[in-house]
């Protein structure tokens, strides 16, 4: 179903604008995909567990800015590149982890519903990213881009890492006990607890995972842009959630598919770049994504046998 939709979209845009299938444009779509998919992956776990994480976009921006500060300091101190990159990854992931842990604390102990807790975090992280960077890209480093142009076939090295993470996440969600607990909590939290599952600890880990993946996205975007932009992840939480929902997840929890999230992300990437290539006014892509969410949610509601 999703594959058919994706195929139809690609065919449509290719017919409108043949450049759509050029290798340059495909590389662009791949980079777009990698800038979004990890957010979708984290969001898939969160939504499967019956929650929602609205903070992933601004966590991307914020971790990218902090990571860029750290890498700039190291570059100024003439550290070698491998060290700089490793520290960048660690700092971005660490910042994302911190954001995820704060989300989990707000949900578990301050007893906020996930929507409110992560909405507050969305505002806080986006605001701090802008304040700390004065609204300017941080640590412009022309070499950063070269990391993403070194290639193995059509894939840059960072994109290979992203794809590997997606594969591991797919295995984890659908084949391990961790994934099983995630679905169980989203399906019936009381039943999960009554079966002896430590629900609070699991919820902490799910939001932490989502945060770390947002942090890694911050690093990926840094490498792509060559700087930590305070608006790098603006509105990306909506695209990530849309991808998960298009992929067949239920916002009530208990239902999600990693393969669906991957296809959902590709569909969003295709629509977004297709609209740009077809010279349609830029902000229409947001409208298009909104329409896709509405369509996916409606189809889900109409699907037979789906309860609650």
């Amino acid at each position: 179903m999703l594959l058919v939709a994706l195929g139809a979209l690609v065919a449509y845009f290719a017919a409108r604008a043949p450049v759509f299938l050029s290798s340059q444009e495909l590389a662009n779509i791949l980079a777009d995909f990698c800038s979004l998919i990890l957010l979708g992956v984290g969001e898939t776990f969160v939504i499967a567990s019956g929650g929602i994480d609205l903070s992933v976009g601004s966590a991307t921006s914020f971790s990218g800015v902090i990571g860029a500060f750290a890498m700039k300091a190291l570059l100024d101190g003439h550290q070698n590149e491998a060290v700089v990159l490793a520290v960048g990854v660690a700092v971005c992931a660490g910042v994302g982890l911190g954001i995820g842990l704060v989300n989990a604390a707000l949900i578990n102990w301050a007893r906020l519903v996930p929507f409110v807790a992560t909405l507050a975090m969305l505002g806080a992280a986006a605001g701090m990213a802008i304040v700390l960077s004065n609204g300017e890209p941080v640590g412009l480093d022309p070499r950063a881009i070269s990391y993403t142009t070194a290639k193995l076939g059509p894939f840059s090295y960072p994109s290979l890492v992203v794809i590997a993470v997606v594969a591991v996440a797919w295995l984890t969600l659908h084949f391990t006990r961790y994934g099983r607990y995630t679905f169980a909590i989203g399906s019936n939290e009381f039943a999960a607890r009554a079966a002896g599952i430590n629900v609070r600890r699991h919820v902490v880990s799910v939001y932490a995972l989502s945060g770390v993946l947002a942090g890694l996205t911050g690093m990926f975007v840094y490498m792509r842009l060559g700087s930590g932009a305070p608006t790098a992840g603006l509105n990306d939480e909506l695209q990530a959630i849309a991808a998960v929902v298009i992929g067949g997840a239920s916002l009530y929890g208990g239902v999600a598919r990693m393969s669906g999230t991957v296809l959902g992300t590709l569909i969003i990437n295709t629509v977004t770049s297709g609209l740009i290539i077809s010279n349609i006014q830029a902000n229409w892509d947001q409208v298009a994504v909104a329409l896709l969410i509405g369509l996916a949610a409606t189809m889900q509601a109409l699907r037979p046998g789906r309860r609650r």
Binding site: T176, R180, A191, R193, A194, I197
Partner: protein, 254 residues
């Protein structure tokens, strides 16, 4: 059961939800190889007592003793680990998971070797074993890969009962297990409970169907508005006096 040691005991247990006093100074003793009936009107506190005994709620005051040792459950996990298994009223299964996943929830079988240590589950074995476990306790379902939401209310109840009975090692707490069941199925459940008792388990059986309670229980505890108002051998009750004790009308009549 005369002469037998107490298996599981609640001593002076109280539990409130905010200003609602759901349990007040409750004392209950459960023996091994005994079915204890727990009856009372809606809101009497039966489910709350079950949740205290199963580790969902810590009591506000009072103590729990398992085999003579005082125990404090910090979560259901602790009680499960001690062989206390519970069927909760209406809420025990995860509807989006398969029957097999529900039967093994919290006790997943892992694959051998490295994959298992990474948390990979032996899904097929669990599905197969789940059907086997359920059949062992007299619950027949076709296809454990069905999700629970595809089952009828009666089938769901059967799976939940089967799971609890299959895993229980010491204590079996059954909160209205015959709800949603047809007459035939309900009688089968009573047989399953008898078999569990004969295995030496201590069983607490909650039901509003008084003939069932009188038929299967060795002893009956009556709760009213959070207090134990009667605790006696089943032979001391008949249908009328049991109903009278539950409603409180018996004492008021001359």
């Amino acid at each position: 059961m005369a002469g037998q040691a107490v298996l599981y005991e609640a001593v002076n247990v109280s539990k409130s939800y905010g200003s609602v006093e759901a349990l007040i100074d409750v004392n209950v003793q459960l023996h091994a190889g005994e079915v204890l009936g727990l009856v009372g009107d809606n809101g009497a506190g039966k489910s709350t007592l079950v949740k205290v005994l199963s580790g969902v709620h810590p009591p506000d005051s009072g103590k729990l003793f398992l085999e003579g040792r005082e125990r404090r459950w910090s979560s259901p996990h602790d009680a499960l680990a001690e062989g206390i298994e519970t069927l909760y009223q209406d809420t025990g299964l995860a509807p989006h998971l398969t029957i097999g996943a529900n039967v093994f929830l919290g006790r997943e079988l892992l694959r051998p070797g490295l994959l298992g240590r990474l948390g990979f589950m032996a899904q097929r074995e669990m599905e197969r074993a789940a059907l086997h476990e359920l059949a062992q306790v007299g619950v027949e379902v076709k296809g454990s890969r069905k999700t629970v939401s595809d089952l009828s209310g009666g089938q769901r109840q059967a799976v939940a009962i089967g799971r609890a009975v299959a895993w229980a090692r010491k204590v079996l707490l059954l909160d209205e297990p015959t709800n949603h069941l047809g007459a035939r199925q309900a009688l089968e459940v009573l047989n399953v409970i008898r078999a569990a008792r004969d295995r030496g388990l201590g069983v607490i059986f909650i039901s509003h169907t008084l003939p069932h309670v009188l038929q299967i229980c060795d002893r009956i505890v009556v709760l009213r508005l959070g207090r134990v108002v009667r605790d006696a051998s089943t032979s001391e009750f008949d249908a009328e006096s049991l109903l009278g004790t539950i409603t409180g009308l018996l004492e008021k009549s001359p």
